[in-house]
């Protein structure tokens, strides 16, 4: 049984980090960073999600197969978004297509 008991202190620690990161992401959104705004927001979201995955969801103490499963999920999410976006992002390069109007 690959069960692992995490101490309550760790749970509360992660909780406070998550709360702090929420405050940071709201604060960062108020500052004009240009294109960096979205990068900062997404980086913080990824960090928060990773913390939840690793500690609340015990991924850190899970077998390698679980890591593989999670990895596959995000890889396929990447395929879905990445390969889909190849089309709209390059659509106007050669043909005179402007995406849409309306």
């Amino acid at each position: 049984m690959s069960e692992h008991v995490i101490s309550i202190r760790v749970y509360f620690g992660i909780f406070f980090v998550l709360m702090a990161l929420t405050a940071v992401t709201v604060g960062a959104a108020m500052i004009d960073l240009g294109r960096l705004n979205i990068v900062v927001a997404m980086t913080i979201a990824v960090i928060k999600a990773t913390l939840v995955l690793l500690y609340f969801m015990h991924l850190r103490y899970s077998p390698r197969l679980t890591w593989l499963v999670v990895g596959v999920a995000f890889a396929w999410l990447g395929i879905l978004i990445g390969l889909t976006m190849v089309d709209p992002l390059t659509r106007m390069w050669l043909r005179s297509f402007v995406p849409l109007a309306g």
Binding site: T25, A41, V52, L53, W76, L77, L80, T84, G102
Partner: protein, 232 residues
């Protein structure tokens, strides 16, 4: 993975094959350990499908935000940031109480388990309540896509895309919350009956995985929906 059949071979040594069914696992498994491993793997695989399910909507979001950054920025500012941020905090807190519920079940503390589950349900309900208030505001302000859409900002058409995605994403998320609440209600009833012990509490664990996943979805929804172009 490769070693798994060896693992099962070991399990067989302690549990005679196809022998009398033991109370601590279902008949198709050889041991409680195998059942536990299968159940958690099953939940993780299910979460993969959930990631792809939300992934479809996220793809739509990415495509349209890339096409209409301005419209999305303006429309985003019509969302209530305070309520959104409070909800984020509420949901993270509910994830904490859920983690504590799992912890209590691992320790075999029945009453703490029930308390934490109820707390999680309470926080989940608060989240849904606040979401309901936000939805009501959107209806009053005419920000619901369709013929009644009265939006004063520029690019009203593309703003409809934003609000459609807002309702689709938060709606699907809320639906998952409701399912989670139902799951937890069942867990509370079972826990009260003493169904879960220090040795057997797999349903608590895998429901916890589900609840944290719903939290993760919100962790992405919050900045994507509420935090665009807030500095303008």
């Amino acid at each position: 993975m490769e070693a798994y059949s060896d693992q099962r071979e070991r399990a067989l040594e302690t549990t005679p094959a196809a022998g009398p069914h033991h109370a601590d696992h279902q008949h198709q498994f050889d041991s409680a350990a195998q059942q536990y491993d299968a159940s958690t793997l099953g939940m993780w695989v299910f979460l993969v499908t959930e990631i792809m399910f939300f992934g479809g909507v996220f793809t739509m979001y990415v495509a349209y935000r890339a096409a209409y950054p301005g419209a999305f920025g303006h429309a985003s500012n019509h969302l209530n940031l305070t309520l959104g941020a409070i909800n984020t905090a509420v949901l993270i807190a509910s994830s904490l109480t859920m983690a504590l519920a799992v912890h209590s079940s691992q320790m075999g503390k029945r009453s703490a388990l029930v308390t934490y589950l109820l707390l999680t349900m309470l926080l989940g309900s608060v989240f849904l309540g606040i979401k309901g208030v936000e939805y009501a505001h959107k209806f009053e302000e005419g920000l619901v896509p369709g013929p009644g859409f009265t939006y004063s900002g520029p690019d009203a058409n593309q703003a409809q895309l934003f609000f459609s995605l807002y309702f689709a994403m938060t709606g699907l998320h809320a639906l998952h919350m409701v399912i989670g609440l139902v799951l937890m209600a069942v867990l509370v009833l079972q826990a009260r009956k003493g169904r879960y012990t220090k040795l057997y509490h797999t349903p608590i664990e895998i429901s916890g995985l589900y609840w944290h996943f719903v939290d993760i979805v919100w962790i992405f929804l919050f900045p994507l929906l509420y935090l665009i172009a807030r500095h303008e």
